[in-house]
């Protein structure tokens, strides 16, 4: 029997997806276009359907919210917050501390136009601060990029799994389009797994040595070891957790590389051009970090050309260029400021592919 279908906004789907993934605590700070996530959770707080959802609190700032998330994550529970770009910038400090302390939790960034206040329209310009470790120090977030409301439902499950498996914050990077889009979705049966937190969680030092969650180490050699261990962990993530969608790339001469809402539009272009006999495919990174470098390199080795489509002035395109290696045609189509490319614009670009990097 298939699960019932529900008609939801992306941000609402994220909230219900997190609840179905066993969310225990949520610390909120309102910011457009992400606020339907906390609003939905505030409404569902106390609903007997979600007995594990025990804490909902609106904080006084983005900073307070992320540090409350950090404190609750130290307690070993499933905790999350959602924000949008200006708020995500403010959270970078807390994310740096959390990565250094190896704390598992979920943050969603429903990206809007920047820089500064920008506007409330969709952009994908938080790619850099999402995937490169946006705060200080050598660290990464594991970044999942949904391209549909259905994935907003499903990704919190994956996110909590990855967060606890690797003890690292996980980011769901959406955009104003994905957050505000309404689609019908289903909620497949899911039982949230138990995670072993006994070796690190802050539960009181009863019958054991104290647990100390800390990013500070004044001894340079010891800190070198600490970061080395985290770096080794990241190599494991890169080896095991790459996710991407490969759509009609096998015989494609041109492959559009796009994530999130850009990929959704690009898929329409691929279908349209296939109908006209053009061999075009779509490669959609689902994990923006770890980036699906090897899969792209493999496509490049088959002689394909690439068009990167993003809602920014060119961020992921740098990772694509690094992935495909030298001598490969990579072109770029960007839109920004809340403007989204039309299928026609992408089609024209595919037809007249220019080389921006060889």
């Amino acid at each position: 029997m298939s699960a019932p279908r529900v008609y939801l906004k992306g941000n609402e789907a994220l909230a219900y997806g997190a609840l179905e993934a066993g969310l225990n605590a949520y610390f909120a700070y309102p910011i457009t276009p992400s606020s339907e996530a906390p609003e939905t959770l505030a409404k569902e707080f106390g609903n007997k359907k979600y007995p594990e959802f025990k804490i909902f609190l609106q904080s006084a700032s983005e900073l307070e919210a992320i540090y409350m998330v950090l404190g609750a994550a130290a307690g070993g529970v499933r905790v999350m917050t959602a924000t949008s770009s200006p708020g995500f910038s403010l959270k970078q400090e807390g994310l740096s501390y959390a990565a250094g302390m190896e704390l598992p939790f979920l943050v969603a960034d429903i990206c809007r136009a920047g820089p500064g206040l920008g506007n409330l329209g969709p952009e994908q310009s938080d790619y850099f601060q999402s995937t490169k470790g946006g705060g200080h120090g050598s660290y990464r977030l594991i970044v999942l990029a949904p391209d549909s409301v259905q994935e907003m439902v499903l990704f919190p499950r994956i996110a909590f799994d990855l967060a606890f498996k690797y003890r690292n914050p996980v980011l769901i990077l959406g955009d104003a389009f994905i957050g505000q889009l309404k689609e019908d979705v289903e909620f497949p049966e899911f039982t949230p797994p138990e995670y072993d937190i006994s070796s690190w969680a802050i539960t009181g030092a009863k019958g054991r040595e104290p647990h100390i969650l800390n990013s500070l180490e004044l001894d340079y050699q010891k800190h070198y070891q600490h970061i080395s261990r985290i770096y080794e962990k990241y190599k494991q993530v890169e080896a095991n957790e790459v996710r991407f969608e490969d759509y009609l790339t096998e015989d494609a001469e041109t492959v559009i590389v796009a994530f999130g809402i850009s990929a959704r539009i690009a898929k329409g272009v691929v279908n349209r051009l296939r109908g006209k006999g053009l061999k075009v495919g779509l490669f959609r990174p689902i994990t923006l970090w770890p980036f699906p470098r090897d899969a792209l390199r493999k496509l490049a080795s088959q002689g394909k050309r690439f068009l990167v489509v993003e809602l920014n002035t060119g961020q992921m395109v740098e990772d694509v260029i690094l992935s495909v290696g030298k001598g490969v045609t990579v072109d770029f189509l960007g839109k920004w400021g809340g403007v989204v490319p039309t299928e026609g614009e992408i089609e024209n670009k595919v037809r007249g592919l220019e080389v921006v990097a060889v």
């Binding site: 404190g71 609750a72 009181g204 500070l216």
Partner: protein, 266 residues
């Protein structure tokens, strides 16, 4: 929530590790560490105590207090404490913040923790200066006081006057216990040379215990402790202790600012 009962203990404290502290000679941070350890032992809360180590000279306390610790970012200890307390309400969560940490960069987090009656305990070490970063002006630096960023003395026309955290928090209805104490020994006149009384420390010990009792009753507890920083004040240890008696205490008078549960009457 239940009342905590005190059981006097003598000898080695279980809540204190064997690690020698890094604090400078004459610094009261070590005294406070000892008072907290003593309260943890005597109230029987070590196994559920969690210290949120804040940024400042208290940040290395995880070496000294034998309990779980989270080391927070500068100013964010009350937020971290509030997040943890909500998901693990049985824990006894406390932080030791400096005046730069609590009253400058972290004032919003402190006020909102109090405003929401978050059951946590905040100890504020007020030594009127940024100690760990080498002696810059703090919100609590006295008018005219010389620091590395006020080399000609603090000028209130430029930087405003001292910020009184206890007075401020006493005006926040969610705070259940606000008390200003001193960790500084007091000089007494004597025929046989200088003599010091530790009355302040004996008092402070009671207020530290009260701050945990208030948390156990479900309230937000705040104890500000006047201290010295002789190294950054560029004074001898004894001069610094005298400075607190002669100047600091006049601007920051000791006293009970709020006691919603009446723990000091019990």
């Amino acid at each position: 929530m239940s009342e905590l009962n005190l059981k006097k203990k003598t000898g080695k404290l279980e809540s204190l590790t064997d690690m020698p502290t890094h604090y400078c000679a004459g610094c009261e941070h070590g005294t406070l560490t000892r008072l907290i350890a003593s309260a943890m032992d005597e109230l029987g809360i070590r196994e559920r105590a969690v210290m949120i180590d804040s940024v400042g000279c208290s940040v290395l306390a995880y070496n000294y207090l034998n309990c779980d610790h989270i080391v927070a970012a500068h100013g964010r200890a009350p937020a971290v404490a509030g997040g943890l307390k909500r998901v693990r309400p049985d824990l006894m969560i406390f932080t030791v913040q400096g005046d730069g940490d609590a009253v400058a960069i972290g004032l919003a987090e402190l006020i909102y923790a109090a405003k929401r009656s978050t059951p946590i305990t905040v100890f504020l070490v007020n030594n009127g200066i940024y100690g760990m970063t080498g002696g810059q002006m703090a919100p609590t630096t006295l008018e005219g006081q010389v620091t590395t960023t006020t080399p000609y003395g603090r000028d209130p026309a430029l930087t405003g006057t001292e910020l009184d955290a206890s007075k401020l928090l006493a005006g926040i209805d969610g705070a259940a216990y606000v008390r200003r104490a001193s960790l500084v020994v007091t000089e007494l006149a004597s025929q046989r040379g200088t003599v010091y009384t530790i009355k302040n420390l004996l008092d402070a010990k009671k207020w530290v215990e009260n701050a945990f009792k208030v948390q156990a009753l479900g309230g937000f507890a705040f104890v500000e402790l006047l201290s010295t920083c002789s190294v950054n004040w560029k004074m001898s240890v004894l001069e610094a202790k005298r400075f607190v008696q002669e100047h600091t205490i006049k601007k920051f008078p000791l006293g009970l600012y709020k006691d919603t549960f009446g723990v000091e009457k019990k």
